[in-house]
Symmetry: C2
Subunit: 240 residues, 2 copies
């Protein structure tokens, strides 16, 4: 009996703490608190302390990733009525990419909640994942229109410098070359293979750092293949 009471207290105080923290961060107390709790549960966390199986955040992350992408797509569509879809697509990928989301989540202070749940076993990608899962929870809590307004006003406008992103270099090859120069590493691009596909030339390009192959990519266009391979290296090394 004592243990039931203890567990009950544990739940209440833990959920109360979460509700308080979320109110500080989001400016509102979620009605469906359990959804937000789920948003911070990475699959690597086991919940031995309560003995209850807690659902992890992967399904919410799947939903939130998509919802965020659409909200950002529409935000840019309205903000830039005269820009073509190439510009809009590039801007969107600058916003929804992992490093940007990690940084937003960090500025919001989600790391505090996450570190409490994860008991210290925290990686950077867990932060971005929890952020996406939280977007999923906000969407399920508010519906699309309200979630859109909230996310644009309270998250994107507050934590994102859109004009800085506009100017941000998305030339991965030059980013990689700059990084190489700064750190005294030799960056090389080599044509590994060239073959015919649909009667057109197709190029397989490799990126080498200090003569060690780091990534490859292929395309009908050599420069595009170089960009794609560079992107992979830049993202793995988290240079951007």
């Amino acid at each position: 009996m004592k243990s039931i009471v203890r567990n009950l207290n544990y739940y209440l105080s833990s959920d109360k703490d979460l509700a308080k923290r979320l109110h500080e961060i989001l400016g509102f107390t979620p009605y469906r608190l359990s959804l937000f709790k789920t948003a911070f549960y990475h699959k690597s966390m086991n919940n031995c302390s309560t003995g209850k199986q807690q659902q992890n955040n992967e399904r919410l992350e799947y939903l939130g990733d998509s919802v965020l992408s659409t909200i950002v797509a529409e935000y840019l569509f309205s903000k830039y009525p005269n820009k073509d879809e190439g510009f809009l697509t590039k801007m969107r990928s600058k916003i929804v990419k992992r490093t940007t989301l990690n940084s937003i989540a960090d500025k919001m202070g989600l790391d505090v909640i996450l570190s409490e749940y994860s008991q210290g076993k925290m990686s950077k990608s867990m932060l971005g994942n929890a952020f996406e899962a939280m977007i999923g929870a906000i969407y399920l809590e508010m519906g699309y229109e309200k979630a859109k307004k909230y996310i644009i006003r309270e998250i994107l406008r507050r934590y994102l410098d859109i004009h800085e992103l506009e100017d941000k270099d998305d030339n991965y090859k030059s980013q990689l070359l700059e990084w190489g120069q700064k750190h005294g590493r030799e960056i090389e691009f080599k044509l590994i293979n060239r073959f015919k596909f649909d009667k057109r030339d197709r190029f397989l390009i490799g990126v080498f750092i200090d003569s060690i192959q780091k990534a490859t990519a292929e395309d009908f266009n050599k420069k595009s293949a170089e960009q794609m391979a560079s992107k992979e290296v830049v993202q793995s090394l988290q240079l951007d």
Copy 2:
């Protein structure tokens, strides 16, 4: 003066025709007809007959692509409450992929409208693009919640066999091997390169049809690289 009247008549009759066709296909007459007109304008079409610059459908396609992806994401999220995000992601990509969208657009009869605008210069991908652009127009016309209900009820449930998609083979390597056997072509997978990345082995795999290289892909896992390279070939050859 005569020519102005003639042009005016042309516009009216053309827009009336479009409104009628859309009513037959969608079951409603759009309030913002010009959006739907834009949805069917591929950038390759010039609009000499009216002398007016018609906006092409690329921006709407960018928006519609994202909106559709989120509607499908949420539809699957609710439909399969006990499936993990891996299953949901796979199902979504089966639904939003080019060949599925082309087939939905075809069943809906969008090819009729498109062929009128394109004066015969129609490719298969133009159909899927117009479909996505039309989803963008439906979204701007109705807002998210109504568009979601409409698209699920009148498009996805009507033109898509979701249980067939569940069972559909997403093993690209086996699809490719079957295709080779059926058409008497020799399919080979070769290890082109093996290198270290972050101290782990990384494999570069090539797919060859009758000894001609058709695609490559790299991954830490050989089987994944084979799947990725096979997927590229299957999609280029439109086998799926």
